[in-house]
């Protein structure tokens, strides 16, 4: 959509993003009171890559294996009825039974909370974790549901109509978080 140049600013550059992930990893270890039952579950797509990165950091710091999973929440969306062409569905894979685990959902941006609501419903169909927490790289405000994150990389207020674009090396060729204000 080629509208007149919307204003876009860098929220996190590559180094700031790396630091944010380091801090998020430490907070997850604190939150989970160790890593014995920890499972990281990324939301497709960028949440999956972020969960992988955070997972590697935790593994280095703690010298343990942290199981990772991915979920695609498309089939649990509350607006599936309303979207035009049906969205492409990504892969869902969870590392075994979640019963008794502390699942940390990882996503790139927390906005309305509807994605997280869908993820909670979907996880419930895979078992009964002891606890579920939420970890996001950016919280941009604008919630439409009573949901909040336990671990946040960066908080920023972005008006409706604006966007937060999370670019990551594995998918986009570089690490950067950009805020695009409504033109």
């Amino acid at each position: 959509m080629a509208r007149a140049h919307p204003k876009s600013t860098t929220l996190l550059d590559a180094r700031a993003l790396a630091r944010a992930l380091q801090r998020m990893a430490l907070e997850i270890i604190d939150l989970a009171d160790g890593t014995d039952t920890l499972v990281l579950v990324g939301i497709q797509r960028r949440g999956v890559e972020l969960a992988e990165r955070v997972g590697r950091i935790i593994e280095e710091k703690e010298a343990v294996k942290v199981p990772r999973g991915a979920i695609d929440i498309t089939l649990y969306r509350d607006d599936l009825e309303l979207v035009g062409p049906k969205p492409v569905i990504g892969e869902t894979r969870l590392p075994g039974d979640l019963a008794g685990k502390h699942v940390v959902i990882v996503d790139d941006v927390l906005y309305t909370g509807r994605t997280v609501r869908a993820a909670l419903d979907e996880l419930a169909d895979f078992g009964r974790p002891r606890r579920i927490s939420l970890c996001v790289l950016v919280d941009r405000g604008g919630r439409e549901l009573p949901i909040q994150a336990d671990v946040v990389g960066q908080t920023v207020k972005v008006e409706p109509g604006g966007r937060v674009d999370v670019l990551i090396e594995e998918l986009d060729g570089r690490d950067e978080v950009i805020v695009v204000e409504r033109p």
Partner: protein, 319 residues
């Protein structure tokens, strides 16, 4: 341009390669849903689907019903016997009455070629063809294609031979349209009396002998020989058919490479296929059944609802 399917799925003949790929790619994540502890996702919650079967069917009807239920749709099965259809109600009247009860989709199996299209043109609900006469059986064609892609990693350039009664087979037709669009080479093999006249003109190779077909093919899709074909004089006898066209272990052992063996079911063991082949290492017959549910989930998902005019109202929904 985003690829969509439109309102109905009547056949593969008029679908583009992109539309076929969309369905096959969408089927992939649905395979995993059937492996979950709770085999159900809420994607079609609140939708009502009628399975309208004017011909007997076990496998296809059950497969559709699983697909519908795993998407959380509400389903009603209407079979021909004991319904007002046998009292002479027309197809459209039946469907209009169902529609008056606020249904969303119809899955139809009918003995008349073109029945699904006819219905789709006359009702607002989405219509999915589950087999119409000798015309098409699109979801069977799709699950065959998905199975080939799973097994061989691709469809393009694969040699697929359909064996048996091509003349009366809607499965053969759907396979033919779908596979050729995605770049497979398709051949047929069977008694002359069971091959449509002029089929060569569709770019299809014809093998008169099963040994030649086995030498050429990567995949044999062995079709069911309808037993009534013998009564009507298309073939001299079942034993004769098996002797000449039966897919046997002995014949496969002489093949230059390992073949993948498919069959849409239900099988006549010892007529078109040897039991040892059907249960053997190269058979993907049960994979076809598993894939059938995934493909039907994909089709239902892609066709259902989709009311873009409401999309504006939902702006700012899921990020």
């Amino acid at each position: 341009m985003t690829v969509t399917l439109g309102k109905d799925l009547v056949g593969l003949e008029f679908l583009s390669a992109d539309q076929l790929r969309l369905i096959l790619d969408t089927a992939e994540p649905f395979k995993e849903v059937s492996e979950r502890p709770i085999k159900k996702v809420p994607a079609l919650r609140g939708k009502t689907i009628v399975n309208l079967f004017f011909e007997p069917s076990t496998r296809t009807r059950i497969s559709f019903e699983f697909a519908e239920k795993r998407l959380s749709a509400d389903t009603v099965n209407v079979a021909v016997s004991g319904s007002s259809v046998s009292k002479g109600e027309t197809l459209v009247d039946t469907a209009k009455n169902l529609e008056a009860m606020r249904i969303d989709m119809v899955v139809i199996r009918h003995g008349a070629s073109g029945a699904a299209q006819f219905l789709g043109n006359r009702i607002r609900s989405n219509v999915i063809n589950a087999g119409d006469g000798k015309h098409e059986h699109p979801t069977q064609g799709l699950l065959d294609m998905l199975t080939i892609r799973d097994k061989l990693g691709k469809i393009e350039g694969v040699n697929v031979c359909l064996v048996g009664d091509i003349l009366h087979s809607r499965v053969a037709r759907s396979n033919l349209w779908g596979l050729t669009k995605l770049g497979a080479r398709v051949a047929v093999c069977g008694p002359r009396s069971l091959l449509p006249r002029g089929i060569e003109q569709l770019g299809v190779r014809v093998f008169g002998r099963i040994e030649e077909a086995i030498e050429w093919a990567d995949v044999l899709n062995v079709l069911r020989l309808q037993l009534e074909r013998m009564e009507k004089g298309f073939i001299p006898s079942l034993r004769e058919y098996y002797r000449v066209f039966g897919v046997t272990m002995e014949r496969l052992e002489r093949a230059p490479r390992a073949l993948t063996i498919m069959h849409p079911g239900p099988m006549n063991r010892g007529v078109e296929i040897d039991s040892r082949v059907a249960d053997g290492p190269h058979s993907v017959i049960l994979d076809q059944v598993t894939n059938g549910v995934a493909v039907r989930m994909a089709v239902l998902y892609l066709l259902a609802g989709g009311r873009p005019e409401l999309a504006d109202a939902a702006k700012g929904g899921v990020e």
